[in-house]
Point group: C2
């Protein structure tokens, strides 16, 4: 395959398709490489669209420029990259045996021949089961979705918005509508908190509270009711309520664009996306696929999952070019790293959530910690709420989640490398990091999480920051108790020093309880001391700081 | 060792000693744990001292507070941690056979008994061979060094400062003296650029230029000459020059404090620090050591190295506590991650520099790249100059260095995990990261470096951004050439599109040369095209942007 002059036809001119095309044109300059694209605008960073809406990014052009200021258009790909991009042409049918693809465009129908065909058809937004066909009910996915919204917002016709779905896109859109345009934003989410699937509820709760603190109304655990739209506005049923708005944005995720694949007889996987092997080959010889239209293998479960991410699409495009050029390469299983910014909150996660692991029947335990992301004395130091889930028998780490004003993404990027190699708590505990006060604390937060998990296996058990809290043992200082009262029905106060100096009985401690402090560290120490004197207790993971951050919004609601 | 009631004596109350003591007190609450400390102030984050000087951190107290606002003093350790700290006592001699340690203090002499003795004696500043004993010639290492400097600065007696050594501490001090106090700062460094040992010269050059752009005068490649101090001032010979100043700060690193170890007959390693095994045991039974007084094993060479870092000291303290408590634990070899902030420049590195590798006789090749640290369209996106060095035969990555306004530390933290597992270019090329435009580009900069290295092994060779540049082939656009003229004696201009459309001969290209562009990416593509048409060429790694950043300061000097 690598030596003769071959013709490679790629359907879809976004990340995977174009990266594959350009890399292949470099590796095999004699080959004929053609990309067919249905849209007029292509090679733009779709992940940046919410930020054009929010005004953080000036316009669509900024999303399709090289670093040296050239727009990535047909001319650019033809002249600088040696890749022909045919825009406005939709691939409709193929004759597999002859290696022919039919495409339709404004000028009629054409037929293209190929030796290798790459499906990089991407994804399309998921729609509601009964989504009304009305301009006031929209998805937000491609460049075409930008202008109508900006025009409506600029014209003042969009004052109230309901966003269906509090996933990453929904959260980004909430920020965009609220921050730049001052729109009144409500979100309706069927899950228990924001970012379900990405975060467990005790972290999603922090995001929910933050959204509410910023003036976004969030209705969680609410299945969507009736949705009606007419020229006057939209009415959305959520729980027992009816919300009125000028616009409903449906942001419930995307699904793979597999129409062409289906017509070509390509096997789809259990997720509904194109099934490919490690070499990105489909079930049909000489047909390959990459990007948001394929499913990938999940590293921890070994199962196929659908992860439409620009970062994976880019990597797949390059890997596929290498393979088509005859090099040994493959696309490995995916650990599942992700990040999203929600107003001032940084959110990142990798691996599986505890919720997902339990649903799969995996035995899992978790620890929580509220930690500094830099040296505590550094002025720009900020807090992070972190959760680590692991399999008790093997002590293998299965997932890390982080939320806060601190640098959540750095820790998740590091955790991703460890999880990708199947690291245990012991490996997390001994991780090396680049330390200087402006950048990191002396002990890495991921290591602290691992310490907490190791301690838990030694009997110092944590409970979720948002779990039930009836009787609490408060080991904080009087001043701290005053500033943030303990939110439990029955509270016993006890200083660590008293606990250390004598028996809990002498300190007047009675009954079981959950030990609490600000961030969880002192409470864990107290649990150890209580156990020493034969009194079992557990501590509130992540402390009252986390609990307040996650439940505060709920209280105000 | 783990079950009976034992007495553990620790010499030195900084990171390693105190962490060991507190952890051990938790694991073995029945044991007697005593820490002997010569100083009056202890348990402060010494890495934060330059920032107290600079005013970023309010005062020394901020460096010794818990997150809940309690100062870590003797009372704190005794009551909250169950650890006795004896301050103002200096350990002088020991009777090994009897397990006795003599300590001297203001109240005379005492004798303490121990079952296990831990040396956590830390480090002391290296002094010049002929360092004058004068208040105007100082090191900066401990809390005692802070007040005289702050007083002198506040009193206006320190207007001009010469810093000897442009290592991490020297750079931090330059910023402190210059930014807060407006002092006129000169630095004298024997190495070729700033941060020698940490960075190769083409990265150190970027730091040097930045220092100079911020008004710090940096003399590199200058062995220190005469140094004379009297009540009027200091005179420092550097190269052919004599610098006059009010103060000379000697910042040429630290050396292990091994006086007591030596007296106890403990074996020192080739670095001069205490030799310990993976369990932090010294050569003498029941004598252990941790922190800045020990040497560690370098991951890539397997050789002992001296790496006095707070992050390693903390980890060692915890590991040693686990070991003393009878748990299975060990301190692994060190990859060598480090970070330092120099004004607005973020600097981080891991593994060995190319300079160090060549000195060791290792066959090594490198690549360079100037890249965005976030999506190019994100407003807070910033540039990074990155270098990756690898062993060509195994393709194993041996070192990564990063300098820029972008997030250098995140990339080095991720690289550290990969290097720690002995990762090759292929593993770097397929690394997964958490992607969202506010946090990262779609393709991770480390992966881009690996691509460049893989391409280099396929014949697309890079040259150092600061290497000789006689004849250059400029593939940039006319506007770019105007804004940043090509700094070569002979320049041929050539657009990538022209190169792609025809033969180099047709384009009038003659002779060999180095292909240049802004950041290196397009130049690498051109090299591939030139090779295809039988014309060997190499490209300027990191591009003209890097070259200018590294050499600009030199020009202005």
């Amino acid at each position: 395959m690598s030596d003769s002059r071959r013709s490679v036809l790629i359907v879809g001119a976004s990340a995977a398709g174009l990266r594959c095309a350009c890399r292949l044109a470099r590796l095999r300059p004699g080959w004929q490489i053609t990309v067919v694209e249905a849209g007029a605008v292509f090679s733009y960073a779709a992940c940046g669209l919410p930020y054009v809406l929010s005004g953080d990014v000036e316009d669509l052009t900024a999303l399709r420029q090289t670093t040296y200021g050239v727009v990535r258009d047909q001319r650019f790909f033809a002249e600088e990259k040696g890749v022909a991009v045919l825009t406005g042409w939709r691939a409709t049918r193929a004759k597999l045996a002859q290696g022919l693809l039919k495409i339709e465009g404004p000028e009629g129908e054409r037929q293209l021949s190929w030796d290798e065909l790459v499906l990089a058809t991407g994804a399309r937004p998921r729609r509601l089961a009964k989504q009304p066909e009305h301009p006031r009910v929209r998805c937000f996915h491609g460049w075409q979705d930008l202008e109508p919204l900006k025009a409506g917002l600029a014209g003042g016709q969009i004052g109230r918005v309901v966003i269906v779905g509090a996933g990453p896109l929904g959260c980004e859109l909430a920020e965009a509508f609220h921050s730049l345009w001052g729109a009144e934003v409500s979100m309706v989410e069927a899950g228990q908190a924001a970012l379900p699937g990405v975060l467990d509820p005790e972290l999603g709760g922090c995001v929910a509270s933050h959204l509410e603190a910023r003036g976004v109304r969030l209705l969680t655990g609410q299945p969507l009711g009736r949705l009606e739209a007419d020229d006057q506005g939209v009415r959305v049923g959520a729980g027992g309520e009816e919300l009125s708005a000028d616009l409903v944005l449906v942001a419930i995720g995307v699904e793979p664009e597999v129409e062409l694949a289906r017509r070509l007889g390509v096997r789809l996987g259990p997720t509904g996306a194109i099934a490919v092997d490690e070499r990105l080959a489909t079930s049909v010889p000489h047909l390959w696929a990459a990007g948001d239209c394929v499913e990938v293998r999940d590293l921890s479960s070994g199962l196929p999952v659908y992860r439409p991410l620009g970062s994976l699409a880019n990597r797949q495009g390059r890997v596929l070019a290498n393979i088509l050029a005859g090099q040994a390469d493959s696309f490995p299983p995916v650990a599942g790293a992700m990040a999203v910014k929600v107003f001032d909150l940084n959110v990142a996660a990798v691996g599986a959530t505890e919720t997902a692991l339990r649903a799969r029947g995996v035995r899992v335990r978790s620890v929580w910690a509220t930690l500094d992301d830099r040296s505590p004395f550094w002025p720009q130091n900020a807090e992070l709420h972190l959760k680590l889930s692991y399999e008790p028998s093997s002590r293998r780490v299965l997932g890390v989640q982080a939320v806060g004003r601190g640098d959540a993404v750095k820790r998740v990027d590091v955790a991703t490398q460890l999880i990708a190699q199947g690291a245990t708590l012991a490996q997390f505990a001994r991780l090396e990091h680049a330390y200087a006060p402006p950048y990191a604390p002396a002990v890495d937060p991921l290591a602290v999480l691992a310490f907490a998990a190791q301690n838990q296996e030694d009997g110092v058990e944590a409970v979720s920051p948002t779990g039930a809290l009836e009787a609490a043992l408060d080991v904080r200082l009087p001043g701290e108790r005053q500033r943030r009262p303990a939110p439990a029905a029955e509270v016993q106060e006890l200083a660590l020093s008293v606990l250390r100096s004598g028996s809990p009985a002498a300190a007047g401690i009675h009954g079981p309880g959950i030990v609490i402090c600000e961030r969880g560290g002192r409470a864990a120490e107290a649990v150890r001391l209580l156990r020493e004197s034969g009194r079992p207790a557990r501590y509130l993971g992540g402390g009252l700081v986390w609990r307040e951050a996650a439940l505060d919004g709920g209280r105000r609601r």
